[in-house]
């Protein structure tokens, strides 16, 4: 079993990991010849299935195993991975490989980096060059007797050559503990099955959605905190109601004991066309067609946990090229977040499912809370 690669688009990789890390600490990573898949399945809350084509984040990629497609399944902690990627952010180059240390498998990230030229060193250079002036020391001038060369055995003057060190590359190795999973153990993990969506809609910028959602959630918590205790438990997990139509409207609503607030994007969003070729049913029979025909007042609605939804929306940091939400009425919301590639803006292909067509997509499965 071998895995070795150079890293590229570290910023994107790092943001993805950060977004996943908000939902769960440990991820299942599946590597094969073509794709990298990160899966996060928290005990409670939304699942994420992120699928990236290998060359989005990797370069000079080598993988080898006994499984089909050279698949390797790993379980890894996201916190350390995020931390390691942070080290790699401004590096000259970084690579990742699967190795073993003390018998424990490790994902070892090797980072070649430089330290920034120290400002104090620069200042010191200056000092040494105009030492005669006896000032501008970073410590300030403390000499009252105005004798910078007074003999003092305790404090030796530094010699000039010390300050002229050439900056060299440092090699940082970050070892992330991992578990190698047997194919049998991951066989049973499946993407959730959801029936064809009733409404699919292009989401407004996630920052907007997150700002409003978070505001609603906080409102619910604060208002409930001052009201009766019976609703307190409820208040700890405020629920948001998300609805959308096939006529370009999205609605965000909070209903609490004393509150009912709604925010609507009114008919200003796009409902992308479906590609009939990939649909399991003829386009005429597809539920979305029925919703479209039912007019702009036919809403598909899901209820989500406010805090969990906020964690889901933290994917916004990825600067997605677009986000498509699929509403299945009273059942689930699926969020497809298309990852923008740093080097070339990858054109999306319809509202495809998963990353089978080579798209880099992060898929969130948010199930609706039934009351």
């Amino acid at each position: 079993m071998r895995f070795k690669t150079e890293l590229r688009n570290i910023r994107t990789f790092s943001k993805l990991v950060a977004a996943l890390n908000t939902l769960e600490k440990i991820a299942w990573v599946r590597l094969d010849d073509d794709t990298v898949r990160f899966t996060v399945i928290p005990d409670t809350g939304s699942q994420v299935w992120a699928s990236l084509s290998v060359d989005t984040i990797f370069d000079s990629y080598h993988i080898q195993s006994n499984e089909a497609n050279n698949t390797i399944n790993l379980e890894l902690p996201l916190g350390p991975l995020q931390r390691a990627l942070k080290s790699a952010l401004n590096s000259n180059h970084a690579s990742l490989r699967l190795t073993k240390r003390d018998g424990i498998p490790m994902l070892s990230m090797t980072i070649h980096t430089m330290t920034k030229d120290a400002p104090s060193a620069a200042r010191r250079n200056k000092n040494n060059s105009n030492n005669n002036n006896n000032n501008d020391d970073q410590m300030g001038s403390y000499n009252d007797d105005n004798d910078p060369f007074s003999e003092n055995s305790l404090y030796q003057q530094e010699s000039l050559e010390l300050t002229m060190k050439r900056e060299r590359e440092k090699v940082i190795t970050q070892d992330i503990p991992v578990r190698v999973l047997h194919p049998d153990t991951v066989e049973t993990i499946m993407q959730p099955k959801v029936r064809e969506p009733d409404v699919h809609i292009m989401f407004p910028p996630l920052l907007q959605v997150k700002a409003i959602s978070d505001r609603f959630t906080k409102l619910a918590i604060t208002t409930a905190a001052s009201s009766s205790s019976s609703s307190r438990r409820e208040a700890q997990n405020p629920k948001l109601e998300l609805s959308a139509t096939m006529h370009g409207s999205l609605r965000l609503r909070l209903i609490a004991d004393t509150l009912d607030i709604t925010s609507v994007w009114d008919s200003c969003l796009e409902n992308p066309e479906l590609d009939p070729a990939v649909l399991p049913v003829p386009i005429e029979e597809h539920p979305s067609t029925k919703y479209r025909e039912a007019g702009p007042d036919k809403w598909a609605t899901v209820r989500v946990d406010g805090k969990d939804w906020s964690r889901v929306l933290s994917v916004g940091r990825l600067e997605a090229s677009r986000v498509i939400a699929c509403f299945t009425h009273e059942h689930a919301l699926i969020l497809y977040v298309y990852v923008r590639r740093a080097d070339d803006d990858y054109p999306g292909v319809g509202a495809g499912r998963g990353g089978d067509d080579g798209d880099d997509v992060v898929t969130y499965y948010v199930s609706s809370i039934n009351t």
């Binding site: 440990i26 379980e75 890894l76 902690p77 350390p80 931390r83 390691a84 080290s87 240390r101 424990i104 490790m106 980072i111 330290t115 920034k116 120290a118 400002p119 104090s120 060193a121 010191r124 020391d137 970073q138 410590m139 300030g140 001038s141 403390y142 000499n143 009252d144 007797d145 007074s150 003092n152 305790l154 404090y155 030796q156 530094e158 010390l162 300050t163 060190k165 050439r166 900056e167 060299r168 590359e169 440092k170 090699v171 940082i172 190795t173 970050q174 070892d175 992330i176 503990p177 991992v178 578990r179």
Partner: protein, 484 residues
């Protein structure tokens, strides 16, 4: 009577504050020691594994500095203060809206220490701000002699120095949850490695696999030797210190100066880090994790410690006379894994260093120097401590000052198992001694009865059993005195 009087400039105040802030990461209180030519701030952390010393040169650091001894403090004045209260005094005041308001920043700070018979002992700091406001603070202090850690530079053959800012930036790559820093060299690759790790999660039960994922990042940073200003380190030598201390030091070092120098000998022996700038010298003495500790931690087996064998060739081996004692001690450690000691070990495996300082009771002025000399010459003092009648040897007449000066020394072997609660005992006794030393007649009896058990413990613990090492110790004491 004003004993000490000095003035700090604006920059001086901030440097003073930085120094205190750094010390505050190690301890709650600081010892101030003033002499004619310098002001020294020292502190020792609570586990006595780290010692911090900042020296400010009287003529270079201060705008004005005046020390005048009195009868009690002839050559030096010392006191102990809370760092927190000092920090709040010397904290920098921002100018606020410099356009609207007159500058509220500090112009200068006058500090005076008033002490003497019939006087209130106070440290008075008067802060003069640019906007004309003067704030006076009066702090009580405790008259307590400073504790100095000893470091034998001759012994420390390994040294390196590097730009502190480079090192500080490298530290940023270490993730959270790590505790130990292993500094080692590889001559083949011409690199110095800084490796951070922890052994906090080390229980590998049936579900140990889960725990594996909870381990923090294991980070290694290789820095080419050419990057260093000086490297002279034994190949493949691993020296392990606490990351927390190292971080605290670097944080301050980066503010102060461009170069950080370190000196150390071998695992289990102290390491010294120092850097200096105009008028200020910063020194840190850290205890390094002993080899046994390191092995234990590497193998993640706390029991391994019990079966250790005396390390050959490291320092003076146990003398023939002390061998029985030594072996007893070892056997004890081997056969009886003391239950009282085990739990703390398991609870705090990442605790890098047990208390490694060995506090020697302050020497006493001998009744006659001759007696002292005979005592020393015929005493295999540290050899046959088994019998408890041995009297602790007074060092020298000149050591009188040392009466007030509890000297602290690193334990010679750094064996953690036996040393665990010794220093505390020693300290208590010492306190007793302090209260009694004023009456010489009581002294002899007292020393014989009380002190010798302590000394015998010292014997078992350290390898000071050798006369040679004892002599070395004496000479070190003298050196220390000289330095003080």
């Amino acid at each position: 009577m004003v004993i000490l009087n000095f003035t700090l400039s604006e920059e001086g105040v901030s440097v003073f504050h930085d120094a205190l802030a750094c010390m505050y990461k190690f301890s709650d209180d600081v010892c101030l020691e003033a002499r004619r030519d310098k002001l020294t701030l020292t502190t020792l952390n609570i586990s006595k594994s780290a010692y911090v010393c900042f020296t400010f040169a009287a003529n270079r650091f201060f705008s004005r500095y005046h020390f005048e001894g009195n009868a009690q403090y002839r050559d030096r004045f010392f006191c102990q203060l809370y760092i927190r209260s000092l920090l709040s005094i010397f904290r920098s005041r921002q100018g606020g809206d410099s356009a609207r308001d007159k500058d509220a920043s500090i112009e200068r700070c006058d500090v005076a220490i008033d002490d003497g018979p019939g006087k209130k002992s106070r440290l008075i700091a008067r802060i003069s701000c640019r906007n004309g406001i003067t704030a006076s603070h009066s702090l009580p202090f405790e008259s307590k002699p400073p504790t100095h850690a000893k470091f034998e530079k001759d012994e420390a053959g390994n040294r390196w120095s590097i730009s502190s800012s480079t090192l500080r930036q490298l530290m940023d790559h270490f993730g959270p949850g790590i505790e130990l820093l292993d500094i080692n060299t590889d001559d083949d690759d011409h690199v110095v490695n800084f490796t951070c790790f922890t052994d906090k999660v080390q229980k590998r039960g049936p579900h140990g696999n889960e725990a594996v994922l909870k381990k923090p990042l294991h980070t290694n940073i290789s820095v080419e030797m050419a990057e260093f200003n000086e490297v002279e380190v034994q190949d493949k030598l691993h020296i392990i210190i606490s990351v927390k201390d190292f971080r605290a030091i670097l944080q301050h070092a980066q503010i102060i100066s461009g170069e950080l120098a370190t000196y150390y000998s071998e695992p289990g022996r102290p390491m010294k880090l120092s850097y200096s700038a105009d008028g200020i010298l910063c020194e840190f003495i850290l205890m390094t994790v002993g080899e046994q500790d390191a092995i234990t931690q590497k193998h993640k087996n706390t029991r391994a410690r019990a079966s250790k064998t005396p390390k050959p060739g490291s320092g003076p081996g146990p003398g023939p006379a002390s061998k029985p004692d030594g072996s007893v001690a070892n056997n004890e450690a081997k056969d009886v894994p003391k239950p009282a000691q085990k739990p703390p070990q398991q609870k705090t495996p990442p605790q890098p260093r047990q208390t490694q300082f060995e506090i020697r009771p302050p020497p006493i002025p001998p009744r006659s120097p001759v007696a002292a000399r005979t005592d020393r010459s015929d005493s295999p003092l540290f050899v046959e401590q088994g019998d408890e009648d041995r009297q602790w040897d007074p060092v020298d007449r000149e050591d009188e000052e040392e009466m007030d000066n509890a000297r602290v020394e690193w334990n010679a072997t750094g064996e953690p198992v036996l040393l665990r609660h010794f220093p505390l005992v020693a300290r208590k006794k010492m306190a007793n001694i302090h209260s009694r030393t004023r009456r010489p007649c009581e002294l002899a009896v007292y020393w014989q009865d009380r002190l010798c058990p302590v000394m015998s413990q010292t014997d078992l613990l350290g390898d000071s059993s050798q006369p040679s090492s004892f002599l070395r110790h004496v000479s070190c004491c003298l050196l220390c005195l000289f330095f003080c």
